[in-house]
């Protein structure tokens, strides 16, 4: 007999978990390895138990479903179960990973399971689809309010107003904040697009700075500027960065 599919249910409402559990009862090929009530527990559970399939709510205490996905290493196949239709993109329903709008029928649930099972059986391509989904969702969201970082076993949630500046480091960025410095696997472009441009400015190819922390702009030599932060850190400012910075600071 084939190995059973390991499924994890992540939702902060018991009744919502119950209905998934009940629906899943008919599938002998799927085994429920656990339930989580929040993003923190889920991150831990996923890294320990490595489920094949997760049922994921979006709005949860501590970490939202999306924030949770950002920090897990090998995301399993995901079926979102949520009341938020603004994140649903109908087009993705024909793809492997599914998006169930609460309340959902048993038939609709069966469709989702079929897609997920197919995806698990021939694994290729699943990551790409998820990435596509995430990208779309991020674009629709308003500006970032917080950034989630996993460092070792610890998870840090940093409100964006505590970020001092962001530095490019190859495929990663280093986030300098009041709480410490954190490496995150995202691009500068991502932060440039998702942080509020009234608060965060790309002052240089390698730097995005929070204007709340900028004390002054210093002229180093002709047409070369530095941004001096309140804790006397100096960041280089490019020509175009200088223009933007000047405009915003003059306001």
């Amino acid at each position: 007999m084939e190995q059973r599919i390991k499924a994890l249910i992540i939702d902060d409402e018991k009744l919502a978990r119950d209905i998934v559990r009940t629906y899943l009862g008919k599938y002998s090929s799927i085994e429920i390895i656990g339930e989580c009530t929040n993003g923190f527990d889920a991150v831990k559970m996923i890294s320990e138990q490595e489920p094949d399939l997760i049922f994921l709510d979006i709005q949860m205490p501590k970490l939202t479903g999306f924030e949770m996905l950002e920090i897990i290493d090998n995301p399993p196949v995901i079926i979102f179960t949520t009341a938020f239709d603004q994140y649903a993109i109908k087009a993705f329903e024909v793809n492997a990973t599914d998006y169930l709008l609460k309340p959902f029928s048993e038939d609709r649930f069966a469709d989702a399971i079929n897609k997920a099972v197919k995806q698990i059986e021939n694994e290729s391509g699943s990551d790409k689809k998820l990435e596509g989904l995430l990208k779309h969702i991020e674009n629709r969201e308003e500006f970032l309010e917080r950034v989630v970082i996993k460092s070792g076993q610890k998870i840090f949630i940093i409100p964006v107003n505590e970020i001092k500046y962001i530095e490019a480091q190859d495929d990663y960025v280093m986030i300098y904040s009041d709480k410490g410095n954190f490496l995150k696997q995202k691009t500068m472009k991502y932060f440039e697009e998702n942080l509020d441009p009234a608060e965060f400015i790309r002052i240089h190819r390698s730097y995005i700075v929070n204007i709340m922390y900028v004390k002054q702009i210093q002229l180093v030599e002709k047409e070369t500027y530095n941004a001096l932060l309140h804790d006397s850190i100096k960041l280089p400012v490019s020509k175009s960065g200088y223009q933007v910075l000047k405009e915003i600071l003059e306001k």
Partner: protein, 348 residues
């Protein structure tokens, strides 16, 4: 409110024109009926009417201090009688001395002035009465307009609160999750599913048929809020608890409508939704000095990162309380050690 005869150019102009008109009549009367010489009549009317023109402006101050809010009608009548006598006396005498000095060598004019003193005094009383009456009309008209303005502002704020609440209550997160709970209960506990359906229905009904009242009884407000809390309770059965401690004085008291509901919504949104621990929402009410104090408090996870848009609901409540009771600081917020507390003081 400042003196409208000085501050309001329109009122000032009308007032000035009235006095020009009175001077003219004055002139005509004494020239044709009393045979006063034209030059003397002209001077006299200018002097006396300019004097009253100025006195009349200052009468505003006696009127604005003698309102029904400050004194009893009898006291006001006495004050004004005294003021009328004094004002008229000052007016007649000062006019008399000015004119006597100007026409010092005309004995017949001086006699005429002296003899007409009593008549002038009567006219002074008459002017006083008219001026004061007009002042009162202006004051009450202004108060009336202010009241209308405040009422319309209040209505706008209540509408805003209702709209926000409505928007919140019929948002997908609340409605669809509640429906999902019902869907789940139909499988596990049909009786409870039916109960939840009824709760959700009565809650939606009460939400959609909000009446226009500015104030309602505390118990009614609690009843509506409880419909909402009951539904959240089904969703998060063991995650929160609602406790109410009302002293007997509070049961029948009237409070501005829709001020409690947003506070409970806040407690659920920022407390229950964001916390892993059990959240206790407490409603307390009891007398404190000349107020009835209502407290809504809940514990929350201090580590949860605050989201934008927080505190807008509370600001609305603060504005409304200020407009209704004409008093500042009736709503205070305390936030420490993971306890969020809103105090509302209702004047008795």
């Amino acid at each position: 409110m400042g003196n409208p005869f000085i501050k309001n150019i329109k009122i000032f102009t009308v007032y000035l024109l009235i006095w020009v008109f009175i001077s003219l009549i004055h002139n005509i009367v004494i020239v044709f009926l009393l045979d006063v010489k034209l030059e003397q009549a002209f001077t006299e009317s200018i002097v006396y009417n300019t004097l009253y023109f100025l006195l009349g402006i200052s009468l505003w101050y006696t009127v604005s201090y003698n309102t029904l809010e400050n004194y009893t009608p009898v006291k006001i009548f006495i004050n004004h009688s005294a003021a009328a006598v004094i004002t008229s006396a000052i007016w007649v005498l000062s006019g008399y001395y000015i004119l006597i000095n100007i026409f010092n060598d005309d004995a017949s004019y001086k006699t005429y002035l002296f003899n007409s003193g009593i008549w002038r005094f009567m006219i002074g009383i008459f002017f006083y009465s008219i001026t004061v009456a007009v002042d009162y009309v202006i004051i009450y008209y202004n108060n009336f307009r202010q009241k209308l303005f405040r009422e319309s502002e209040l209505n706008a704020l209540v509408k805003e609160a209702e709209l926000k609440s409505l928007k919140y209550q019929i948002n997908p997160h609340f409605i669809f999750n509640s429906l999902n709970s019902i869907s789940s209960l139909t499988l596990s506990n049909p009786d409870k599913a039916r109960e939840m359906t009824i709760k959700l229905s009565s809650f939606l009904r009460s939400t959609l048929s909000k009446n226009e009242k500015q104030k309602s009884k505390l118990v009614e407000e609690i009843f509506n809020a409880k419909l909402y809390l009951d539904i959240e309770k089904v969703r998060f059965s063991d995650k929160f608890e609602f406790i109410e401690e009302l002293e007997s004085e509070c049961k029948d008291m009237e409070i501005p409508s829709m001020i409690l509901q947003p506070l409970f919504e806040n407690a659920i949104k920022h407390g229950v939704y964001e916390s892993l621990d059990k959240v206790v929402i407490k409603l307390k009410c009891g007398p404190e000095k000349e107020y009835l104090k209502i407290i809504v408090e809940n514990n929350y996870d201090p580590e949860s990162v605050p989201r934008r848009g927080e505190g807008i609901g509370i600001k609305n409540i603060q504005q409304r309380m200020k407009l209704i009771y004409n008093q500042d600081n009736l709503v205070t917020v305390e936030k420490n050690n993971g306890l969020f507390k809103v105090n509302i003081f209702i004047p008795r």
